[in-house]
């Protein structure tokens, strides 16, 4: 039960955090100018967005949950489960960000999940 809760926090916290960061960046809008000064300005605007803080907080939570579970479980058990983050990411992108995930993209995401699992087990 403890493992299941932590794995849920790792997958949903990590993915949810990145989705919240994506939401913050979408609010700022497409970046066209990549000069260091403009990137600094974008960073200042980003840290003023509540979604950015929620995202960083969720990612930190997922990171500490990963550290905690790795202190008693093997990497070969934990990391393949985290490969589910890619499926959760596509699902979250569709539901929470309104992205159109075509069958080809779903197939690609599925292959990435399988490939990441094999890389981590190998």
């Amino acid at each position: 039960m403890r493992d299941a809760v932590l794995l849920f926090v790792i997958v949903c916290g990590g993915t949810g955090g990145e989705i919240a960061v994506a939401r913050a960046m979408k609010e700022i809008g497409e970046v066209h100018d990549f000069s260091p000064l403009n990137i600094f300005r974008v960073a200042i605007r980003a840290v003023q967005r509540p979604w950015m803080w929620l995202g960083v907080g969720l990612m930190a939570l997922a990171f500490f949950a990963l550290l905690a579970i790795l202190s008693w479980e093997n990497v070969s058990f934990v990391v393949p489960v985290t490969a589910l983050s890619y499926a959760a990411g596509a699902f979250g992108g569709k539901i929470l960000l309104g992205e159109r995930v075509s069958p080809v993209r779903w197939l690609g995401v599925g292959l990435v999940c399988v490939g990441v699992t094999l890389v981590c087990l190998g």
Partner: protein
């Protein structure tokens, strides 16, 4: 160059930077932490000195700097591209780490891992055939 092609090129360049910063950042951090030694105790009195010792390593600082650049590049590309496009596309970093580990560090890479890298590449190829942005800009 039309708008769609420019968007695709811009997205590809940023995802390339995400992959390189992320992969190299993890490699430097890993090398640095291995030199620092094994983390063996969670007691608050032991964690702080361990972290202080880790931050004395130049490799750890290079790793941290590269991972900050990774986060900046990742956030920038998400300002226009779909999350469901960027996230799987950046998974090719697993392949980059395997290739860098094999050619630069002389690490053994098992056949299971190479098969996994191949499947990731196929998955990323399929994702790259879909439009990078499917939502309207606000």
């Amino acid at each position: 160059m039309n708008r769609e092609a420019r968007l695709k090129l811009k997205t590809s360049v940023l995802i390339f930077l995400v992959i390189m910063f992320g992969s190299l950042g993890n490699i430097f951090l890993s090398k640095g932490m291995k030199r620092v030694g094994t983390f063996s105790s969670w007691r608050p009195g032991d964690v702080a000195p361990f972290l202080a010792h880790a931050l004395e390593s130049g490799l750890v600082w290079i790793g941290i700097l590269l991972l900050i650049l990774f986060f900046v590049a990742y956030s920038l590309v998400l300002s226009w591209a779909d999350y469901s496009f960027v996230q799987p596309a950046s998974s090719i970093g697993y392949g980059v780490v395997a290739v860098l580990g094999y050619f630069l560090l002389g690490e053994a890479v098992t056949s299971t891992r190479w098969i996994g890298v191949g499947i990731i590449c196929l998955g990323v190829f399929l994702v790259s055939q879909t439009p990078a942005r499917t939502t309207e800009q606000s």
